[in-house]
Every structure is written in C-alpha cells, then in structure tokens.
C-alpha cells in the first residue's frame, strides 16, 4: 500500500465540501472523511509496526514508526475537530448569519490543513517536509482569520508573516544540509533516510549551521520562545476547533520535523551541540510561558501560553538526548495533543455559552454547565501536570532523566518553571471551575447543557475518548505503545 494514500481522503473531502449543498451534508462528509483517514492511518501503523522497519524506504515518501505516530496523533485530533466544528459553526451561523459558503470554505480549508499535516508525516525528502510545513501555515491562515473581526485579521497577518519568516530559516538549514552532503561528495537527494546513513561523513561545520537554522525555523513553527510571539494571538483568535488542531497537531508536526533534523545532527555532531541549542530554547519557553500563564486574564491565551510551555518541555526532552527523556518527550506529545485538544474544544463551548474570554467572568462552570465544565476542568488539571493523567508521567520521565544525566541545573530550573506554570494553571482551573457565579451570568446557557443527549453525542464522545486515553496512559503505558515508543527513540538516537 503506497503511503501517500493517507493524504487522499482529506483532499477528497476538502473538494467535496466545496460542492456540498447543505450544512448537514458538509458535517456528515467531514466526519466520514476523518474516520476513513483515521482507519487508513491505523492500517498503515499496523503495517509499519509489524514489518518492523520502513515502508517505501528510498523514495520521496516513506513511513516509519515515528511518522506513523504523528499520523495517528493528527488524525485522532482531526476527527475530534471535525465533530466539534459542526456544533461550533452552527452556533456561529445563528449568531453571525454565516451562509453556506462560510461552511464550505471552513471545512475545505480545515481538511486541506489536515492533509498538509499528514503530508509532513510521510515526507522523506527534507525539501518536501519543508514545503508541507509551510503549506500548513498557508492552509490555516484563513482559518485563523475566519472571523472577519479586527483581532482575527491581526492574528492571521502576524501568523503568516512570522511563521513564513521563521520557516525560511529552516529552508536555509535544509539547503545547508544539502550543501554539506554535496561537498562531502555524497548524493543523498535530500532524503532523510540517506542523511541518516551518511551523517557521520558530513562536513560538521555545515551541519552545525544547518541544525542551528533548522532549530530556529521549525522552533518558530513549534512556538518555542523567543520566536513564539505569533502563537498566543493565532491560538486565541482562531475558531476553537482550529485552535485545538493548531495546538495539538500542528505544533506536534513542527516538533516532528525538528526531531528529524536532530536525528541527523546527533549522528554527525554527537549529542552535545544540538542538545544545548534545544535545551536553551526549551528553558526559554518554560520561562516565558510560566508568568504569562500565572497572570493570564483570557482563558484562550492561557491555553496558548500553556502550549508554549509544553512545546518547550518537549524540546527540552529532545535536547537532553537520553532514551528515557526522548521516550518521555514523545509520550508528552500524545498527552499534550489530547489534553490541549479537549481544553480548546471546551473553551470554544464556554466562549459560545458565556460570550466572554475573561477568566473571571467565566467562573463556576462545573455548577452551571457540567457537561462542558467538568471535562474542561479535568483537561486543565491534566495540562497542569497532575496525576493520574499521562502528562504527569511524561514530565517525571524527562525530569528524572535530566537529573540522572547529571544535569542538575537544567533539571532544577525546569522543575521550578514547571511549578510556576502548574500553580498558574491550577489557580485558573479552580477559579473557572468553582468560582462564584454572577447573577447576570446565570442565565440559560446558549449551548450544550439542557440540550438533549443525542445532539451532544459528538462532544460526549470526544470527552470520553480523550479522558480515557489520558488516564490509561497515566496509569500504565500499554506494552504495544511501550515497544512503539522504544522503536521511535531508536530511530532518533543512534546509540539507544
């Protein structure tokens, strides 16, 4: 089965959504397409894991355990976003009088966006990888600016400009890597698989520059400080299902691209140089995110800064470069994707019901709208890093391996900054969950609660699946996932 099949359902659905006549048809098409995509992803994953190697190893497209992991994370969240978008758009359509064309454009762009992220996972050629990542920016620009309000347009402009600049450095890094292989007389054809084989023979000076630029570029897209400035705007202004995808899937894709470059750099230069760069960006992100989470007044911006924090933490795990840290960072990617997805879907429903972005005005959610409030509260606790959710386990793994490797300063700083973010997150979670409810806001919520169960079925399904996944992985990593994660750490690190 050729691996590029994975992008076909999303592209096809995107085209069909443009042709569909009613909003109900678009919703059904979108969910159906996402399910097909997820099934295809599962099939490819089983194929890759059972073959124990790489599918289509030497061509432009390939799939290994790492790529399959990204495909699965993206398509799970894409299905959830597809389900959540229906309720979201219906509400917006009532309030803002959106026509059928808005539905068509929204869903078409959404599925192109998903297709570009799936494309990231199968690109073997580093040039195509770059094209796919830049494609994600272009596909999601108008999703970020979907509400034609002043703030959303500002966010969309900053998003396109800053991400395109940042990613330009990643292309320079890619070209330099190509230069490194050419000047060593190798013809890798820009294929990642050939770079991995020949990494030790590459010119180290060029690889150093290449990795530095790649870290700057993909780091920008991943939201690492100090290049994160586009992220809080884009994530807070985008429609909430899109915010969930931006945060849970897109940032993970950028992390994936960075991990691919790290794998080449570590084989060429050893773990020291690339590791220190990533640890610097990681700690900087934790340091920037902590205070902003603590002082946040807008709950969507708080979630956005929490993405900066978690991405910083994953960069830190990658930078530490031990098998355990990497295992933790990869597990963290999954936990973050689900918890952040759930939190953003919840935030979208809260925003629609309460009509405010202020944390202080959206309080007492557990009592007034339990169906949304309770899962949202749980998601915030998971993001804060509390057990029994899996983010707790992965954070312990990365920190433990930092201390275990004798990097006490790194470990202590990271721990202190995590505590800062933790206190901010739990503080706001308790405020939003159990804070006082003002009389004026006690009025009947416009959405969700009070609706019959079938209408909320999609939402309840998302809640159940994501909370179960987060809790199960927090209690015990199943054997097959454990083996899978171990294979992935071996793909990235040469000596594991």
């Amino acid at each position: 089965m050729p691996v590029w099949l994975i992008v076909i359902p999303s592209l096809a659905i995107s085209a069909l959504c443009l042709l569909a006549g009613t909003s109900a048809a678009i919703r059904r098409l979108s969910v159906l397409g996402s399910i097909v995509s997820l099934c295809l992803g599962l099939a490819l994953t089983v194929l890759v894991l059972s073959s124990g190697g790489i599918l289509d190893g030497s061509s432009y497209f390939f799939l290994d355990a790492l790529g399959a992991y990204l495909i699965l994370l993206v398509s799970i969240l894409a299905l959830a976003a597809s389900l959540a978008s229906g309720d979201f758009l219906e509400h917006e359509a009532e309030n803002e009088g959106l026509g059928i064309n808005s539905w068509r454009i929204y869903y078409a762009l959404l599925h192109i966006f998903i297709a570009t992220m799936l494309f990231v996972a199968i690109a073997n050629n580093l040039g195509l990888l770059w094209i796919a990542i830049e494609g994600t920016t272009l596909a999601s620009a108008f999703l970020v600016g979907f509400h034609r309000r002043r703030h959303s347009i500002e966010a969309a402009w900053k998003y396109v400009i800053l991400c395109s600049i940042g990613i330009a450095f990643a292309l320079l890094g890619t070209i330099l890597l190509h230069h490194a292989s050419l000047s060593s007389g190798l013809d890798t054809g820009l294929l990642w698989t050939s770079f991995i084989e020949t990494a030790s023979r590459l010119d180290p000076k060029a690889v150093k520059l290449a990795f530095l630029f790649a870290a700057l570029g993909y780091g920008t897209k991943m939201g690492l400080a100090p290049m994160h400035t586009w992220l809080p705007d884009a994530h807070s202004q985008a429609p909430s299902p899109v915010s969930a995808l931006l945060s849970g899937a897109l940032l993970t894709s950028a992390f994936y691209a960075l991990a691919r470059f790290y794998a080449i750099a570590v084989r060429s230069l050893g773990p020291e140089f690339p590791g220190n760069i990533l640890i610097f960006f990681g700690l900087a992100s934790l340091a920037v995110a902590g205070p902003f989470i603590l002082l946040a007044r807008d709950y969507k911006r708080m979630l956005a800064y929490s993405s900066v924090e978690h991405m910083g933490f994953m960069a830190l795990g990658l930078g530490l470069g031990t098998p355990l840290a990497l295992y933790g960072a990869l597990l963290h990617a999954a936990g973050h994707s689900w918890a952040k997805g759930l939190a953003f879907f919840g935030a979208g429903r809260i925003l629609q019901a309460r009509g405010t972005r202020k944390i202080t005005k959206a309080s007492g959610l557990v009592a007034t709208m339990p169906e949304t409030g309770i899962p949202y509260f749980a998601a915030l606790l998971a993001l804060a890093g509390l057990p029994p959710f899996s983010l707790f386990v992965s954070e312990i793994m990365v920190l433990a391996s930092g201390f275990g490797a004798g990097r006490y300063w790194v470990g202590t700083t990271a721990l202190a900054l995590l505590v800062l973010a933790f206190s901010g997150m739990t503080h706001h979670a308790i405020q939003m969950g159990f804070g006082p409810v003002n009389g004026s806001e006690r009025k009947t919520p416009k959405l969700s609660d009070g609706q019959s169960v079938p209408k909320n079925l999609g939402w309840l399904l998302i809640v159940a699946v994501f909370l179960i996944l987060l809790t199960v992985l927090g209690l015990r990593v199943p054997d097959f996932l454990d083996a899978w994660l171990t294979v992935m750490t071996r793909i990235i690190l040469s000596h594991a």
Partner: protein
C-alpha cells in the same frame, strides 16, 4: 560537487548577484511603494539572469527551467499582482516608516557585516560558494530588516519575498542540485503565499481603512 563558478561567465554571474545586493539596499532607501515593488522585480530578474548563465555553463536543462520560472513568476507575475493590490487599496507611499531612512541603511550595512561573520566558516573550503552563502544570508537579513523598519503591509510582504530571494541564492550556490519536485513545490508555495498575503492585505484595508501595520498591535499579554 558541480562547480558552476569555474567557467567563463562566472564574472557575469558575480555581477548579477552583486546587482541583486544593490537592489536590496535600494529597497531600504526607496519611499514609493511602486518603486519598492519594481526593485523587487529587478532583483528577481538579476537572479534569473544569473541562473540562466549558470544553466548555459552547466548544461543542465532543469536549471534552465528554473531560470525561466524565476524570470516569469518572480520577475513578472508576482510584481504585477502586488502592483494590482497596491492600486486597489490606493496606497502609494511609505509616509512614516517605523525607523528613519538613514538608520535603516546604516542598520542594513551592519546586517551585511553580521552575515559575513556568520557564514565565513563555509567560505574556507570554497570561497566562491561561501561568498554566495554570505549573499544569501545578507538578503535574508535585509528582507527581515525591511519588514521591521516599515509599516505598510505591502512593504512587509515585499520584505518576505526578499527573504525568499535570499533562500534562492542559497539554492543557487548548490547549483540547484535539489530534486526538481522540490523546486516546483517551493515555487508553488511562494505563489500561494503571495496570494494569501494579497488577500489578507485586502481584508486589512477593508477592516481598518488603512494598511498600516501599526493598527495590528492590539493583541497583547
């Protein structure tokens, strides 16, 4: 590696690349949006001409195709589109830049020196290739500088395109040994990016009645 600099028109190539640098500094000094866009077109044409000579020298047909694409798309289609956008939003001049013109140019010279220092390690092995990496990084930094020192959204878009031209020079110095599909993908991405930026400029104009990006600073914290 294929050394495209070792045949007779290499001086001509160097001349064209130098002219690309001159146009970049020119953009920092120009005040009229129309001239800034035309300077970008000129820069792209110089790069296209350099690529064309390189294609003649190396005899690779795919470099010839890239040269044709560059001249057609970057030298003609994109500037034409940007001029259309400029006319329809009816903004002609960069009236009050964020950074004054003398300081912009001084800063540009400083960035050129910075690029030279950063890329010098590569110039040790192969001075000619190293030199074009220096030019590449200089163009990237000058493009960024153009974006931060000007306020009009169109100038910022041109800045981004100058950054892209910088990357193009980097690809040029490896004699475009990247697979053709990658080059085509890059060109496609560039076109889509320009269209997205153009549409966003329309929206900014419609919403704010101005394309000054200083309006775009409400989101904080």
């Amino acid at each position: 590696m294929v050394n495209a600099f070792s045949f007779w028109p290499s001086h001509a190539i160097t001349f064209f690349l130098a002219m690309a640098l001159v146009t970049a500094y020119g953009m920092l000094a120009l005040r009229t949006l129309q001239f800034i866009i035309r300077a970008y077109a000129a820069q792209s044409l110089f790069l296209g001409a350099a690529t064309f000579l390189m294609a003649l020298g190396s005899g690779h047909r795919h470099i010839l195709i890239i040269a044709a694409f560059t001249i057609l798309i970057k030298g003609w289609v994109i500037p034409w589109f940007l001029l259309k956008v400029m006319e329809s939003v009816n903004i002609r001049r960069e009236a009050s830049p964020a950074v004054s013109y003398p300081i912009t140019i001084l800063g540009g010279v400083g960035l050129g020196l910075l690029a030279y220092t950063a890329m010098k390690p590569l110039a040790v092995n192969n001075p000619l290739v190293g030199r074009s990496y220096i030019l590449s990084l200089t163009l990237i930094l000058l493009g960024l500088w153009l974006m931060v020192s000007r306020r009009k959204a169109i100038t910022q878009a041109v800045g981004l395109l100058v950054v892209e031209n910088g990357l193009y020079v980097a690809a040029l110095s490896t004699s475009f040994a990247m697979p053709m599909i990658v080059e085509l993908g890059l060109a496609f991405d560039l076109l889509v990016a320009v269209i997205v930026l153009g549409l966003l400029i329309f929206r900014i104009q419609n919403t704010y009645d101005s394309i000054n990006t200083e309006h775009l600073s409400r989101l904080k914290g």
